[in-house]
Structure formats: C-alpha cells, structure tokens
Subunit: 345 residues, 2 copies
DNA sequence: TTGAAAGCGCTAACAG
DNA sequence: CTGTTAGCGCTTTCAA
C-alpha cells in the first residue's frame, strides 16, 4: 500500500506549514497567489488526493445524500433515481443508494447506517409497511433534512413530493366513462396502503361525478403480479351476467397481463369488448398491441423535484425552519388503443 | 443542532474511560460482560450513534464500495445494480452509485471523488469512450480492488465480468439460419466499441460456419435509438431487389421499433417476410406481438458475480495478488414468435 | 499572509 | 479486564 500522501507531506517538501497547504488547496483568500500556485503544482505532481474522511469529520459535512427506495430496478424508481442523481451531481453531492426491498426492518437498518455516515440529507420512498416516521426522527432532530417521495405515510408532517394519485385514476376512469363504458371494474392493490387507497378513491369519485353507482364488488384487491391479475380476471369472467366493459388497473404490469390474456385466451377482445387501462406508462405499454392507455407519473421529475427540495433545505439549514412542504406532481393521461371506444376503433 | 453524543459523553456518564466504551460497543472480548451491558444500555438510552466518519478515518476502511455506470435507469444497469446492492448489503457494505452519462470527463471526476472518499472497492462499467484505464490506476496503486463489468476496454488486464457477446449474436444468427433464413442483415451499433464489434463478429462467425457469404453491405451501423432504426429500415427496404429475410439487431429497442414499423406501416410482416431478433430481453420484448426473439444477458447475475468477485479481492487484500481474473457470463437465447419460420408459423 | 496548536470522534498500541 | 496515550488527516481559531 503506497502510503497516501497528506498535506503534511506536501508541507514538508515545500517547507511551509500544513495549514497553509490546506488553505491553498481550498482556495482560501488568506494565502498568497504564488504560494497557492506552488502548492497546487506540487500537489498535482505528487498525486495528492484530499482525504475527505478527515475533512468531513472536521467540518461535520459529507456532501453526500442518502436515497432509500423499495426496489432500485423498478422502472419508476430507477427513473426517479436518475433525476435525483442528476441534481445531486450538479450540486456537487454524492448519492448513496440503498434498497429496502420493502422490508421495514431493513429500512430501519439502512437509515441507522446512513445516519452514522452523517449524510447531509435524506430522500426516501418508504416501505409499504412504514406506518409512521419514528425512525426518521434521528434525522430531523439533528437538522438533517428529509424529503419523502412517491410514497408516504399518513399523518406525517414531513416534506414530500408525490403524485396526485387520486386525480390520476379519476382521469382514467372519467376517460373510460366518456368512451361510453358503464360497467367499470377496478383492479386494486393493497387497500391498506395510502397510495392504493387514493387511487381507489379517484376511481370512485369519477363514478360518482358521472352519476354511476359504485359497486363494491367491482373492486378486486390483489397482490400486484401478472399471474394474480390473470387469476382475478378469470374469476371476474366466470359471472357471465356481469362482464365488465372496462377495467381500471392500478399498475401497468397487471394491465398488460390482462390484455395479453384476454386477446390470446378468451372470447373477449380489447378494447372492443373490454377496455383496459393501466398506471405508470412503462415502456412496454407503448409496445403492446393495442397500446395501453395509462397515466404517466413523471418519475424522473418526481426525483428531480424532491432532490431540488432537499437541497433547498440543506442550504437553508441555518436560516430557516424545516417546515413541512408538499409538492404534488400532476399525472398525464396517455390515451392509446386499449380504451378506444367501439365507434372510433 | 442537538450535539451528537460521543463515546466520551457515555464514558463520562458511566465513570469509565472512552476506550472501554469503544471496546464495549464493538463487542471486543477484552471487556467485562457487565460493563458491556451497562455501556450498551446507556448508549441506547442516550440514543448514541457511532460516528463512522471518525471510525473510518481511524481504521482507513469505509465499508463502502463505489459503483459507476453510464446510465442508472437503463434496464440492464438497474438490474445489475440490484444484484450488486444485494451482495454488498449482505456483506455489510454500503454502495455509492454514480452515473457517468457516458461522458469520460464525468467518469474521471466521479472516480476522483470516490477515491477521496476512500471507498474500499470499485465496480465500474466504463464509458463508450474509455479507451484505457489510466484513471483507474489510483485505485490499483493503493490496493483498492477494481472490477469492470459488462463493458471494458481492450488490452486491459483488470479483472472483469462480461457477457459472451460474440457467442450471443452467434446463437441468434445461427438460430435464424436454422430457421431457413438466407439473407440476414445486421443492425449494429458503433463498431469502434469493443462490445458492438464483438457482437458483429458473432454474427459473421455464424454466417461463416454455416457457409453463408458475409456481405459487408448487410451491416448497418447506427446510433441505437428507435427512430434511427426505423430510418435505417426504410433505407434497407428501398432496394427492392435486396430485401432481407432476417435482421439481427444489436439491442431490443431497435428491434422492437422495427417490428412495429414493419407490421404497421409496410407490406412486410414479421416474421413471415422478415424475421427480427433483438438483444437484451427487455420486459417489452415479451409483451409485443409477435414476441421478440432475443438473448438474455442476465444483468442481475452479472452484477451479483462482479460484486462477489470484488468482495473476494477486498477480503484477500493482505494475502494475495490482485491478479487479473475474468468471468464470462453465458447468454441465453430466448426464442419467440418474431423469428418463427414460415413452416412453424 | 503565514504558523502554531487544538481538536473533530474514534481505535489501537501499550501498560498495568 | 481497564486506562493512558497517541494519532488518523484535515480545518480553523488565534497569534504573529
């Protein structure tokens, strides 16, 4: 191990004090121009690389933010991370990314680790099971700003950037109604979760505003995997007297699976017999035939916005209150063939 | 800012020395059981959180690895990162993830930053433009292990985990030939890049081994975006006397775009008239109709394997040489409808 | 404009 | 089993 060279090594070689070297390297105005040059030249020559561990310990800043998401590889999160990383990198910050795999215990562990590493700020999209922000207190108490994004828990007064989930499903459902659909089912996720509850509410509200009676039995709550969606669809089709003419799915994966299933293995066609709508605008939704009507969550923008908010807080550290702030990102309805009305189709 | 409490605070309260506290907290065998308990209880009571900056500075280890990829949100990389993060987390390491956006300058900047943060190991999938490993020397010189994954540069003697790219396109091309295709084009990427060159070689070799003459004009090198693929396809179709019966695309995005274009806007159908094959097995390739024949790169496994290799090196730090090691991941041919032969179709 | 000196919070000899 | 002591490499008063 070639010993890393330090400011003391530089100082010795140059015959000056290490504090001067330190100042020179950080462009302090309190050091002579010639000295500065000499120091920098020597530093480059000797391949000096500042030890940020020492620097951070001293200054109690790390220029690093933590990001915690349930699953890194999910389209939504990887796009959001892209946005976060971009902003952070412009601000000169590094990003530590961890995934909780939707385990509350792991999330807690990660947060402790990040705290011990003295991150300057935290962006987190909490676990499904995260029902309160107890484990985030260590950050707030030490004036380390926290911004939640996408997911959050109720009664939280922390700052957050979220999608107008309710509005999104409202837009979709309303669109279906305008296409002439009457019997609209909703394939929901876990209704204990704030997010899926909101989406369900959007669906209900759209029905209500259009004078359509809400039928509780039209809402099927499942674990959101492709296979489960097909199973649920089969069950729905068993009641021949009660075949839906549209289904509002709470994500794209289930919607895509249902389209494939209906078109390839049943007598029902999409969209002629049953219209299908998804949620997320994943890449595949533009590829399938017919194209999947869905809603774009603008994940990159959510990441970017939450990250920008975080840096506002980081910079305001001394000036202001870290009072709760909420930004709501607007969904965008993407209309494709899977919900075309019979007339148009 | 509630001042963070330190081992000294604990020591004072308990009336013992801070070094004993330190030992107790790290479960050193050289401290009494009762003392250990007392210390730990007090630590929990007072909400003590170890300052890893100080610890790391002292031990010269950070329990952190760096990961650098061109684009975080690309399916391949986000899956690979998933694998990396999983292994790292099991090993008790944190992961700093950065994206170079395929800019060599940014990559260099990132690496300097990671070095200054004294990461314990580095996983990197270099930029297209990275032609040598000069900027990686600071790591190797300080015995910080580096593992390249997916991409690498030629003449590098660094350890790496890569896909058998050449074999992958060989398998695809061979499959097409077995399906009776004779006039097989290749839609390639930048042929200056090692990876795309390899893929092109696989295509050529398969032709050769099957006694089919290689026609230089059948290889079109483009920037790999959907739009460009369609443009290239149009150009190809202009020569009515020379319509291909199959196209080996160097990625899925271009293949998907071409299938959509051919089936929706031309007289040619996939696979009856022209068979199309992709590369990557992205989610959408299973969704499109017909399904896209492609090759799975096992990105998660590539990430996992490279990460495991890195930790081997990290642990071997004192025992052994960091000699160059290469693991080649085998591609998996995924056959779907887009290359079905006329007979079968 | 520069130097001297202290200390961030922790760990690890060494000593007892 | 526990305490003393030194120091990781840096920044930052304070003094000159």
């Amino acid at each position: 191990m070639t010993k890393n060279i330090t400011i003391h090594d530089l100082a010795k070689v140059l015959g000056i004090d290490s504090s001067t070297v330190s100042r020179a390297l950080s462009d302090s105005p309190r050091v002579g121009a010639k000295t500065k040059e000499k120091v920098k030249a020597k530093a480059k020559e000797m391949g000096y690389q500042r030890n940020l561990l020492a620097s951070n310990l001293r200054t109690n800043k790390t220029m690093t933010i933590g990001v915690v998401v349930p699953f890194i590889s999910r389209h939504f999160f990887s796009e959001a991370i892209d946005g976060i990383e971009q902003v952070a990198s412009e601000e000169g910050y590094r990003v530590i990314i961890s995934q909780s795999r939707d385990s509350f215990a792991k999330e807690k562990e990660i947060l402790d680790g990040l705290f011990m590493n003295r991150i300057d700020g935290l962006l987190i999209s909490p676990t499904q099971d995260t029902r309160d922000g107890e484990h985030l207190n260590q950050f707030s108490q030490n004036k380390i700003p926290v911004v939640l994004f996408d997911r959050f828990y109720e009664n939280s007064n922390m700052s957050k950037v979220v999608l107008a989930d309710r509005k999104a499903t409202y837009m979709i459902t309303d669109h279906l109604i305008k296409q002439g659909k009457k019997k609209i089912f909703h394939l929901a996720g876990d209704l204990e979760s704030t997010m899926y509850k909101e989406r369900c509410t959007g669906y209900k509200n759209a029905l209500f505003d259009n004078g359509i009676k809400y039928e509780k039995s039209y809402v099927k709550s499942i674990e959101l995997y492709a296979d489960n969606a097909v199973v649920a669809m089969k069950e729905i089709l068993e009641d021949k007297n009660n075949i839906p003419d549209a289904i509002v799915c709470v994500n794209d994966v289930t919607a895509l699976a249902i389209i494939k299933y209906l078109n390839e293995s049943t007598e029902y066609n999409v969209p002629e017999d049953i219209a299908i709508a998804g949620f997320s605008n994943e890449p595949a939704s533009a590829i399938i035939t017919p194209g999947l009507t869905t809603v774009d969550q603008h994940p990159f923008e959510i990441g970017k916005t939450s990250s920008e908010m975080l840096f506002e807080f980081i910079k305001d550290k001394y000036s202001g209150d870290l009072s709760s702030k909420t930004v709501v990102i607007q969904p965008e309805l993407i209309i494709r063939g899977s919900t075309a009305s019979k007339v148009i189709a």
